[in-house]
Symmetry: C2
Subunit: 263 residues, 2 copies
């Protein structure tokens, strides 16, 4: 048992009043002292964007008894930066949780996801972080079956840490509790988006392109998140912000060179 109530920062990318963050706050509250900094509007697909060209605002909101919550006009990453630098610069944060996102962030979708980028930003600051996503985009979806698992994973990380890793990408299949097979630690699958644009002509006669598309898994072997989710497991991918492709370094050694002017 931890002696002191842990401090938990909660954020998301669907905005402060999405059902997913409300559930996550409630679970966090059962495990520690909760601080919430979340966007004041939906920020899906914002990736690791930060707001450089305009000022950010913070507004205190009442979201739940005993919970200090601020909404912010920026991106999910901005929210974490404001929490760490402006709101709680002297408060050690034991865990950052982001979500529960409405929609999958498995496979390469971690790259586009504001939910995961917020968690990654906290991980850059040395904070153990978890992004949670539920495989149903609807705000009306019933995610009750997911909640005990969300709590279990948070509790695990609070008790045991992440063993050198700092970030988990957790995705939860949209199934009833009895059907969920368990939890599987796995790797990020490769996939891609196809048929990506709806094309049309606007009322002024100008063409437009609207991002849409269909995700296609390119690799669904048994150690991937896509396999886990397809087979009824909750996928947990330990993830990193160091993007170095270590294996490629020796292969590219022919690019190394010292200019002739060197002593």
């Amino acid at each position: 048992m931890m002696e002191k109530k842990p401090t938990i920062l909660v954020t998301n990318d669907d905005g402060m009043f999405a059902p997913g963050i409300q559930r996550l706050i409630r679970i966090a509250q059962s495990l520690g002292q909760v601080y919430v900094v979340a966007p004041d509007s939906p920020q899906s697909g914002q990736g690791h964007a930060v707001t450089l060209s305009e000022p950010l605002r913070l507004r205190k909101v009442n979201i739940m008894d005993g919970v200090e919550a601020y909404e912010c006009n920026g991106t999910p990453v901005d929210c974490v930066k404001l929490a760490k630098n402006v709101l709680y610069p002297d408060k050690p944060i034991d865990l950052c949780v982001s979500g529960i996102n409405h929609g999958s962030n498995a496979s390469i979708n971690i790259l586009y996801s504001g939910t995961m980028s917020a968690a990654m930003e906290a991980s850059l600051e040395g904070i153990n972080s978890i992004g949670f996503s539920f495989l149903n985009y609807s705000f009306e979806a019933d995610m009750d079956a997911a909640l005990p698992y969300v709590r279990e994973i948070m509790d695990f990380v609070l008790r045991h840490g992440l063993k050198g890793c700092r970030l988990l990408n957790v995705n939860i299949p949209d199934m009833d509790g009895g059907s969920i097979k368990g939890i599987k630690v796995c790797r990020q699958s490769h996939g891609s988006w196809v048929e990506e644009f709806q094309q049309g002509i606007d009322p002024r006669g100008e063409p437009y392109y609207w991002l849409t598309g269909r995700f296609v898994a390119r690799d669904a072997s048994e150690d991937t998140d896509i396999w886990a989710l397809k087979n009824g497991f909750i996928s947990v991918v330990p993830s990193r912000y160091d993007l170095t492709d270590d294996e490629a370094i020796p292969h590219l050694k022919h690019l190394n060179r010292h200019s002739e002017t060197e002593a």
Copy 2:
């Protein structure tokens, strides 16, 4: 020698009329057939953001003789998606280059960078991609000394490929040609941003927070990009979109579990 002129897609995050992309287009033109799709406004710090809630537009622009160029109202990643899906769906692209960015994208700045995210998006599509960044934010900075190296690295990748990797993060110190020591293949350094917000009160009396800050290297050992740049080398970090922290998987095996309901 390649038999057929290679096809090169050029993009950036500083916008179509930044000096850096103009230089990059000229170099690309000396190596192959060039297509440009770039943002119509500065998109620094956009990370891997995509535009979901509004339509995108493309506008053909005259930028250089013999070069087909479009500007787009979206993010750098949107530009690459439009190039691949709408403008050139049937054209094999041999290389995507992004930049030359005005300012460093070394270390963790790869995560925030629209320049690097555009190149990463192309790498997701299986295209060899390079992001180039120059360590001076000013549009007036003289980057002439950098240009032969940019050409050399592009030429290397066109001739030899990337040996299983798909993405290079190239950063170039702001030095005269005689002082640049050479090229060094290295790994992404760890660092962080501090003093991140300018705080003020706006004309209406409301507080605001404006993102700023100072980058601090947390790791500058000899195999890192930060070391290379500090010591006069051009840094080349082979990078990947698979964020799995492979080493952490065995450590987290205690999270694995099958639910009791499983057969």
